[in-house]
């Protein structure tokens, strides 16, 4: 893991797919530091160096080093470039070159990696995340003010999106009863409420493509920030409003509306993040809401019921501690899942069998727990799996099941 004290430069990932982002973050975490090439990965266009797809129009500032990601036999570009699919040696090599270039430049002395987002702007954020729905990040560069850091959740940024939309029911297509709160009057989102069921509960949860797709990159960005362990703040903007503010130093967030009412149009969601000195005042009203609540919500929405890109299907996981269910929007089945994975290492299939939930719900649960930082990993492939055999009393329904019925849960 790259720490604040070791990182010399920040690396921004702009317009990349979640998988590309996750791979690069993983390579840097596992390889770069050992190679004497420490970087702090952020989803921002204001870092020392940027990796941007070669087919995206983008102009870096003079202080920045631009690295182009050339996808699928694309035309080579001048300057620094790396070819997809990214591999660790090439990435380390290109970062070493970037580091060398940065070293030769005259930059103001800074304690840590630079990220030029003005914190004072957080109160009056300019309308700089307003993009056309069909354009890639960077194509509307004129809409961005200098120093903004944004990651656009573009449904066209990765190829599998259309498939998800067609294969999964969409909340946009099947309106549920309107929530009392109307966050965006007159906008498309205001007529597209979230489903009536609790979107952040896992068991029996329907995926709905557009909503999920919008959160994929947000989840990766948040995971990246958390993994970097640097003091940071972030702002998730939906429909150009600063809907959710996060202060990672206090593991707290504020949201303008309850998460259950957050409506995400896939083309108008963005995250801005910045490093912040530890002594700076919080950007949320403390104590605020627990970050676990937000991560639980986003982790359950993202990745369409598939494993998060940073998770390996062959690994097994166990809880470090139970999630604080009294503050989470949970289903009763989530308790059984927590009990199962709290007591032994399980993969998604084993969790599904143990807790009596669908494989998709089990995967969503693991994604959420992982984002919340609650999991420890067993990479030993030879470890014997736990085979769950229900005890005799369960045949007639255990106390849990009976109480569940009794209490109407």
């Amino acid at each position: 893991m790259v720490s604040m004290t070791k990182a010399r430069h920040s690396l921004g990932l702009v317009g990349l797919s979640p998988i590309e982002c996750a791979k690069i973050a993983m390579f840097i975490e596992t390889e770069a530091e050992a190679a004497g090439c420490p970087w702090l990965v952020l989803h921002s266009d204001s870092c020392d160096a940027l990796i941007v797809p070669s087919d995206v129009e983008f102009t870096a500032d003079p202080y920045q080093v631009l690295i182009r990601l050339v996808r699928y036999n694309g035309a080579p570009t001048g300057g620094l470039a790396i070819t997809a699919p990214v591999n660790a040696p090439d990435l380390i090599d290109i970062l070493s070159q970037a580091q060398e270039q940065l070293g030769k430049r005259q930059v103001p002395a800074q304690a840590g990696p630079s990220l030029r987002v003005k914190m004072e702007d957080m109160e009056t954020v300019p309308a700089n995340d307003h993009y056309d729905a069909r354009s890639y990040f960077g194509a509307q560069a004129s809409h961005m003010t200098n120093g903004s850091a944004a990651l656009k959740a573009d449904p066209y940024a990765y190829a599998s999106h259309e498939e998800h939309l067609s294969s999964q029911p969409s909340a946009m297509a099947t309106p549920a009863p309107q929530p009392a709160f109307q966050p965006f009057p007159g906008s498309q989102a205001s007529h597209s409420p979230q489903p009536a069921h609790n979107p952040a509960t896992h068991a029996g949860h329907d995926a709905h493509g557009e909503f999920c797709a919008a959160w994929d990159q947000i989840a990766v960005a948040l995971y990246s920030i958390v993994q970097n362990s640097a003091p940071a703040v972030a702002e998730i903007r939906i429909e150009n409003l600063d809907m959710i503010r996060i202060d990672f130093r206090f593991r707290a967030y504020n949201s303008r509306i309850p998460l259950e009412h957050v409506s995400a149009n896939g083309s108008r969601i963005a995250i801005r993040s910045t490093l912040v000195e530890a002594f700076r005042p919080p950007i949320v009203n403390l104590p605020g809401e627990s970050l676990d609540k937000l991560f639980w919500f986003i982790g359950s929405q993202a990745f369409h019921g598939m494993g998060a890109p940073w998770m390996k299907p062959e690994d097994r996981y166990r809880l470090r501690r139970w999630p604080n269910f009294t503050e989470l929007n949970h289903a009763v089945a989530d308790m059984r899942a927590a009990a199962a994975i709290g007591n032994c290492f399980l993969n998604a299939a084993e969790l599904s069998a143990a807790a009596g939930i669908t494989p998709e719900a089990a995967t969503r649960t693991l994604n959420a727990y992982s984002l919340m930082g609650l999991l420890e990993i067993q990479t030993d492939r030879t470890a014997a799996p736990v085979v769950f055999a229900p005890p005799p009393e369960r045949a007639s329904g255990g106390l849990f099941s009976k109480l569940r019925s009794k209490l109407g849960l």
Binding site: R251, P287, N324
Partner: protein, 188 residues
């Protein structure tokens, strides 16, 4: 009828009586006396013997909820009920002088209950005192009882939904632990 005894333990003022009232479907039986220890907990009365509530589940099961007195001088009651119990709801008020130490003391006293059933830790009054956070409690539980997974939640003892979550999580954990143990026995 199968009886399931769940104990509610914790220091004075943690909310044991209130938690039982939130869960019980009968009017709770309370044994209270004037509180002469206002320094520890600023409330008029305190439990001196036990509190009792219950939830009847069909014709087969009854969940008996016993609240133990928080003060050490009544700890003979702890021993009596500890033998019958299958689960413990340990409430710790976060605004106590040293809530982590309270956790230590009660886990030392009732820790063995995890072996024959399960324990859940409920941290109350976090609205008054947000620190320490629950990950500190979870960390301490891991130190004191390594290898055991005990749920730790924040909870408002007055909130029935939250107390149900605590109770259901406790029971889920007890049943799952038993299921895993049975599976391992069969595998051996």
């Amino acid at each position: 009828m199968t009886e399931h005894v769940i104990l509610f333990a914790g220091p004075m003022g943690a909310g044991k009586t209130t938690a039982i009232e939130s869960l019980s479907e009968i009017e709770t039986i309370r044994t209270e006396a004037i509180n002469t220890d206002r320094e520890t907990a600023d409330k008029d009365t305190t439990t001196v013997a036990l509190d009792y509530g219950e939830i009847t589940v069909g014709d087969e099961d009854k969940v008996r909820l016993y609240g133990l007195p928080g003060q050490r001088r009544f700890d003979f009651m702890w021993t009596i009920l500890n033998e019958r119990a299958v689960g413990l709801v340990l409430l710790v008020n976060n605004d106590a002088a040293d809530p982590i130490k309270d956790l230590d003391e009660f886990l030392e006293e009732f820790g063995e209950l995890h072996e024959k059933g399960g324990i859940v830790v409920c941290v109350t009054r976090t609205d008054v005192a947000p620190i320490p956070r629950i990950d500190k409690y979870a960390e301490r539980v891991r130190e004191l009882m390594p290898g055991r997974m005990i749920p730790v939640f924040t909870a408002d003892a007055r909130n029935s939904d939250q107390m149900r979550t605590c109770l259901m999580s406790l029971i889920a954990n007890i049943e799952m632990t038993a299921m895993i143990a049975a599976s391992e026995e069969r595998a051996a």
